[in-house]
Symmetry: C2
């Protein structure tokens, strides 16, 4: 029944051979890759305003400058990433670039940053998506956390099913969002400059609490706005997913993406100034206020809110493809648990999908789905991996000295300096708001990943048998088998186990530990009825413990055994189909097995005696 439910929810298993995916053309690739980056504008301008609003009405004039700085950063990042596409046509995420050029620890640092930013992409995008819906339908506000968790769970199920089949549909909301945003910006400008409609601000701008702009405040606003740039790395990570010539197509998509971010982010900032959108905690978002000022509550307003919500969910979804793939690559290198490298029955990396969803849900619940509180943690992780990727590229050019390597050094050199500075600005400005958590987590991640690698290496080394030694393995050796059968009484299960043991070896010891002298005597009497020369060791346990003295006796036999002797313990166990029968019996067998196996040189077997079957046969 569980299987049927799982089939219904997740779909039937897919064979390995169905694994080849469709390749992206330019418009489709843009739609898939753009969602994360473009959707960031839904909260980028708002985050800047949250910082600058302490200046009162002057905030809007400085919004222009901050936005320009961010657009400048976007230009640098775009050119730098086109360099990465040139150098890594097989796809070069920050992890790969940093690991290959700067060493394993830099790679792990980048992967740590990426892991954090993927998790936060889910938490932030799903929460911002809910914000967009709530801006339109205010009475949903009390159910925000439940809504966000539900959205994440739906995405989890879709991704466990594998969404590649239907993903062409996903291009639609991205384009609806892009075109409605462009339409909003153009129509907003038209209304303002041509129709000269200058509506009153809906919300009053708070009075200034700070006398004037300072460099610190500007940097803080800049660091907040950097959240608008998260997601631009997506294209360079998945160059091979594009149709041939894939590097060229990827570069075109990258350039188009930058243009779109430039236009939509810049346009939103400009409209926020003209229509005086006010950042509100818990109220409608800045984009929603602009949309309302431009369209009022017309059809277009709802189209915009819904497409904002949809594109945010798609951004969320990019993490659901990116994170499991990252964990697969890291896991293949041995730095993450091997479970992440196994494809589920629908070919997705189920463990990664479920882990991502679980942690993101915890974060959403902990932060009560408040994007404004989660974002400070977000940008820092992204920019750490940006920086490492750029530095890695500089090293790459210097090492390889390929075509146009000097140009590469200059471009990625500028990129690395700028991203490093941005990382430091975000780190300092957002330190107490949450960036410190990332600074604590990343070293822990690196340490954990190294420990995992060491563990796997140790096991591989401990287990490995070289090819040359394989044909020297001796299968002719004959152990002398000593078999111990722990018994509580003589019944069909224990007699069966003794018969089985006797057929394997001439040296069988029945071991009995009893807290009850009467039962002990009875066992001895019955044992003497048996027609056997097997040895019965029966010991009284005055403290009623059974497991410990049993283990001690077995260890003693093991210690006395010689090199050629092999000790096997056979535990008789009756089996019954009744599911609740486990509650009615002691699980001595289980304890014994786990403890003995830890010793490492004792083989533990379970001899099952099926009560239900016996009955069937007799009937």
């Amino acid at each position: 029944m569980i299987k049927k439910f799982s089939d219904l929810l997740i779909g039937r298993p897919l064979a390995n051979e169905k694994g080849s995916r469709e390749k992206y053309n330019i418009p489709f690739g843009l739609a898939i890759m753009a969602s994360d980056a473009i959707s960031s504008v839904a909260y980028g301008a708002q985050e800047i305003l949250f910082v600058l609003i302490v200046l009162g009405a002057t905030a809007y004039q400085w919004l222009t400058w901050t936005s320009l700085m961010i657009i400048g950063l976007l230009a640098i990042l775009t050119i730098s990433y086109i360099q990465i596409i040139n150098a890594y046509p097989q796809g070069g995420g920050a992890y790969k670039v940093a690991k290959e050029n700067l060493g394993a620890k830099a790679g792990l640092c980048a992967s740590g940053g990426l892991i954090i930013s993927y998790i936060l992409t889910v938490a932030v995008s799903a929460s911002a998506g809910a914000d967009a819906i709530i801006s339109a339908f205010e009475n949903l506000a009390p159910y925000k956390v439940q809504m966000v968790v539900l959205l994440i769970i739906i995405l989890t199920v879709l991704n466990l099913r594998g969404i590649s089949e239907s993903s062409k549909i996903f291009a639609l909301p991205t384009y609806i969002f892009i075109f409605s945003m462009i339409f909003m910006i153009l129509y907003g400008l038209f209304k303002y400059f041509v129709l000269h409609i200058h509506p009153e601000p809906m919300y009053t701008v708070p009075d200034r609490t700070v006398s004037g702009i300072t460099l610190l405040l500007l940097l803080k606003a800049f660091s907040s706005g950097c959240s608008a740039l998260t997601g631009v790395e997506a294209v360079s990570n998945s160059v091979p997913n594009f149709q041939e010539p894939s590097p060229r197509n990827a570069k075109i998509v990258m350039a188009l993406l930058a243009l779109l971010i430039f236009f939509i982010f810049g346009g939103t900032s400009v409209l926020a100034i003209f229509y005086t959108a006010v950042p509100l905690e818990g109220g409608p978002t800045v984009v929603s206020q602009i949309a309302f000022a431009v369209f009022h509550k017309s059809f277009m307003y709802y189209v915009l809110q819904f497409s904002t919500a949809t594109i945010l969910l798609m951004a969320c979804n990019t993490a659901f493809t990116g994170f499991p793939m990252l964990m697969y690559i890291v896991g293949k290198d041995g730095y993450a648990p091997k479970q992440f490298t196994l494809r589920g029955k629908r070919l997705g990396f189920s463990v990664g999908i479920v882990a991502l969803s679980f942690i993101a849900c915890l974060l959403v619940i902990f932060f009560q789905a408040d994007t404004h509180r989660i974002i400070p943690l977000y940008a820092i992780g992204v920019f750490i991996s940006f920086t490492l990727g750029q530095f890695g590229m500089v090293t790459h050019w210097v090492k390889t000295k390929g075509k146009k390597w000097k140009q590469g050094v200059v471009i990625n050199g500028i990129g690395s300096v700028v991203t490093l500075c941005t990382t430091l600005i975000i780190l300092v400005e957002k330190f107490t708001e949450g960036a410190f958590i990332v600074i604590i987590l990343i070293p822990l991640f690196i340490l954990g990943q190294l420990k995992i690698k060491a563990h796997y290496d140790k096991i591989a080394a401990g287990l490995s048998v070289s090819r040359l030694r394989l044909n020297k393995v001796d299968f002719k050796l004959h152990y002398e088998h000593i078999i111990v059968v722990p018994i509580a009484s003589l019944n069909k299960a224990s007699i069966g186990a003794l018969q089985y043991a006797h057929s394997l070896s001439g040296r069988v010891i029945a071991l009995n530990i009893s807290p009850d002298t009467e039962a002990m005597e009875k066992l001895k009497r019955r044992w003497n009825q048996l027609n056997t020369d097997m040895e019965l060791i029966s010991k009284y346990s005055p403290y009623r413990a059974v497991v410990t003295p049993l283990l001690e006796n077995i260890y003693q036999i093991a210690d006395e055994a010689g090199d050629k002797e092999k000790l096997t313990v056979i535990v008789p166990q009756f089996m019954t189909k009744e599911p609740w029968s486990g509650l009615l019996h002691n699980h001595t067998g289980l304890f014994i097995r786990e403890s003995l196996l830890k010793k490492g040189n004792i083989i533990v077997a379970t001899y099952p005696y099926n009560l239900d079957q016996e009955e069937d046969e007799e009937e």
Copy 2:
């Protein structure tokens, strides 16, 4: 470390031989047996007043009549129980008497009633104890539930230690309570009648809301007051615990106990009338109000409150001895899980103690430690077992026709009619207040107990080997052993398992299921390097599942095997000491083992390969 902590908390293990308990003399036996019964007066009069208070001031006049009815019932019960002591000098609880005379189902019904009443004794007594403390120290009121749970946990730990050693001390609070209650009653009467001090009531009596007494109201008050009689059965259950001549001593204690209940319960009721104690939800208890009226906040008031709390905790404690003992007796008969029949390391029945404490704590939390809400569930369970015990005795006299059997029939006949009527009254009057829960639970208990018995009987029958057949067991038979070793690759663990398997049988099959064709090819190449004639079956799993196809292949081998062939599966498993290593590996071995054992005719062994040990040896 866990063991050390457990030793500190529970004490070191005690040997079986330390099991003989001290026998009670009359004063000590009275103190131990009396706590449950006498402590009931702490809430008995109050429960009656809660019902009658709808009559306003007239309530107090009817309190006298209700109390007289209950004292009459007490007299009948006392005489009936002395009969049980006569007939069952080895101790006859309601379960035993009902089972032996009325059949197994009646016994199980009685044991169901007793189980419920023991659990409720703990919940009610601990909550009432907290009430007594809170009456004296009102600012503890918000922490009542926590206090009650803590008290129950302390009692649990004490009982796991085994409290017999120190139980002589327990006589002290009982006698302090008895003497201070007697002193309060005498001094209260003295103040009222001799000193003519008639204090104003502290709380105003509510106006009457019901025009006059009705039979229904009186019966309801009576059924509420019956909670004062819970615990009178304790003596008859533990006759053998008394010094010789034990039946005589038990009967003396029974009579003394009845006298004490008569005097204390009667006296409290009388004082409640003279000093106009008002039943209050959440306020001071009736006994506390009387004590305050008599002693004001003098030293004696606090002595009384504390000894009330202490005796209630001791009443609680009687359940901690009674319940595990009952479960032991029922478990020995096969009607309860066998775990209840095992003595813990301190000789107490740990499972019973912990189970009792756990369920009682849940009840306390659910009912927010409100005695008034728990009591309706309480009395019904007790009176069901009273009734069955009495009917059992009537049958006993008729069957045995021993000395004075006619007198016995008359006494227990009256007892059975009266207890049956009381049970019915409580059932009807308290039905909606909680008695219906008991009516649902008891049949479920009986059903569950019968199912448990059937399960054990089936297993015993399925496993048993008669004495005559023991010496016909053939230890000369030689199975043909087929051994399957599931392997993923050739490493030290799997090669070790193959060597071990080969030394046991000439027919070893290495079974490989691989979702990865490359790994499969590699295994085959390496297998060919081996100097062996063992068979390798390697199968490709297009859906990536490993466990299911592995099991299917093993089942197929099992099905093809003949009667003389015995299939053993040996699972290689590497062991490492690192505690978190379990998180980094798949637990395929575990799944395989559990699934194969269910099949019932395949022996499953685990071949451990200890990585840490190997390293030690090499170093």
